[in-house]
Amino acid sequence: MVQFQDVTKGYPNGVLALRRVSLRVDPGEFVFVVGPTGTGKSTLLKLLYRDESPTEGRVFVAGRDVSALPHRAIPELRRGLGVVFQDFKLLPSRTVFENIAFALRVIGAPPQEIRSRVIRALDLVGLAHRPDAMPGHLSGGEQQRISIARAIVNDPPLLLADEPTGNLDPNSSWEIMQVLSRINLRGTTVIMTTHNKMIVDILRRRVVQLAAGRVVRDQSRGLYAVDA
């Protein structure tokens, strides 16, 4: 599903976010990317949805080399994956329903399909009863679930989540993890960066640990940290 081949990413200010990272994620996997702040976790995801391109090496998504993707092909790439952020990125002046429908409208989805697809996505994240609420009136956990619904409304085979529980209390974080697990069970590949030791240690999924831009550990059914 996803492959990094010897990827190095340097920023113009001289920071090397990733150094010679090679990584392969198969379809249907659930992968935690862990490590302290500033070790290149977000950069790793940005390379996948082509917010950044690598300085060296190549990045493949669904068999396609996205490191050399021309600008006009980027929308197409992004329609094939969902992205969730720590800060939700919802439109505060639109209802829950509108926020999700927006993602379908701007890619030109047929209007007669929008309603049923939005309801289905809301159902999947357990918010089918609140389509008319404004995001500001909902809890952080609920807002994050809306943003997940928006990310998957287009049925992408790949879901990227950048610290999705970073702003949430433990209860809400568990809600989010349940939703993400459910989505993963439907066959969607999930790659999630996190700081949350508890979540990683309980779920026991594949763990990729980054330190100073390098992969220092790649372990299936891993823990957040390996004590020496």
Binding site: R72, I74, L91, I107, N154
Partner: protein, 308 residues
């Protein structure tokens, strides 16, 4: 099969129409929201367009005048005194063979005097001249292209039997120089004012862009094409340009009509461009200018926010 295809087509058309309507709705909403800035942008574009339009109108009329005067340009070759009619005929043939000459007419000195008399009106002084006519025989040369007058004149002057050559070229030269100068000044002013207008448009539309920054970010994230993101802003820019253009056309049209009527009373011989002749160039240049400034401004305003 055919009906399926036509429903598909109808659906697509419907979708395009729906999207178009929502783009226009977005654009007009922000047109109203940023009222003051929008008014400033429209006014600035209008001032720039007034200069463009005025230059077009003045240029059109100077061109008209130059053309009329050019049409009257004629090279006149005065022949040496004492040529026999055979010799004069020879000169006429030689001049007729000069490249750029369309037709040569021989005007005898008697006829020349008569013409002069007619132009000047009956005047006592002419009675004396009849016996001692000071005018030479001359050749009136019609040109295929009035602009070649100086060249043809110099060639004709070198023909044997020709004493002197004149052509009414100075007026035309001056008119052409004036038109050229005016175009230069207008071009400079246009460039300057258009830049100012562009800056104001960019700033106005950037307000909308910033207000909708989040939407733009999400649009790009979920895979909207850059053009889908641009359209509402482009339409907003085109609105501003069009509003300014309409205002400029109304102002210029009124001023021109009134001015033309006045001028025609005081200087009826001036070959001015009528409303019908002026309308198309004026509308064309001003509308085009308005649309271009509006479109360029909005595309520049959003460029920085389109990351992909």
């Amino acid at each position: 099969m055919r009906s399926m295809r036509s429903t598909g087509f109808r659906r697509r058309t419907q979708r395009v129409l729906e999207q178009g309507t929502s783009f226009v709705a977005d654009a007009s909403a922000s047109f109203r929201r940023n009222g003051l800035m929008t008014a400033a942008a429209v006014t600035t574009i209008m001032v720039a367009l007034l200069v463009v339009g005025a230059a077009v109108l003045i240029g059109l009329n100077l061109g008209n005048i130059a053309e009329v005067v050019e049409g009257q340009v004629q090279v006149v070759a005065f022949l040496r005194d004492g040529l026999t009619s055979v010799e004069a005929e020879k000169v006429r043939t030689a001049v007729g063979a000069v490249p750029g000459v369309e037709e040569v007419e021989f005007v005898g000195r008697g006829e020349a005097l008569q013409r002069l008399q007619q132009q000047m009106g009956e005047h006592a002084a002419f009675a004396d001249l009849a016996s001692t006519n000071p005018l030479p025989d001359s050749l009136e040369v019609q040109l295929t292209d009035p602009r070649s007058a100086p060249v043809v004149a110099s060639v004709v002057a070198r023909q044997p039997g020709v004493a002197e050559v004149t052509y009414g070229g100075e007026v035309v030269d001056r008119l052409i120089a004036l038109t050229r100068g005016l175009r230069g000044v207008a071009a400079l002013l246009t460039v300057f004012l258009t830049s100012v207008a562009l800056i104001v448009v960019v700033n106005t539309i950037r307000l909308t862009v910033i207000a909708r920054r989040q939407e733009i970010e999400i649009m790009q994230l979920v895979g909207a094409t850059p053009w889908f993101v641009r359209w509402p802003f482009l339409i907003e820019g085109l609105f501003q340009g069009a509003a300014a253009a309409v205002a400029a056309v109304v102002v210029l049209g009124t001023v021109y009509l009134v001015g033309m009527l006045r001028l025609q009373v005081t200087m009826p011989f001036l070959p001015l461009a009528g409303p019908a002749d002026a309308a198309l160039p004026l509308l064309g240049s001003v509308l085009m200018g308005g649309f271009c400034v509006g479109a360029a401004g909005s595309l520049l305003a959003i460029r920085r926010f389109l990351t992909s």
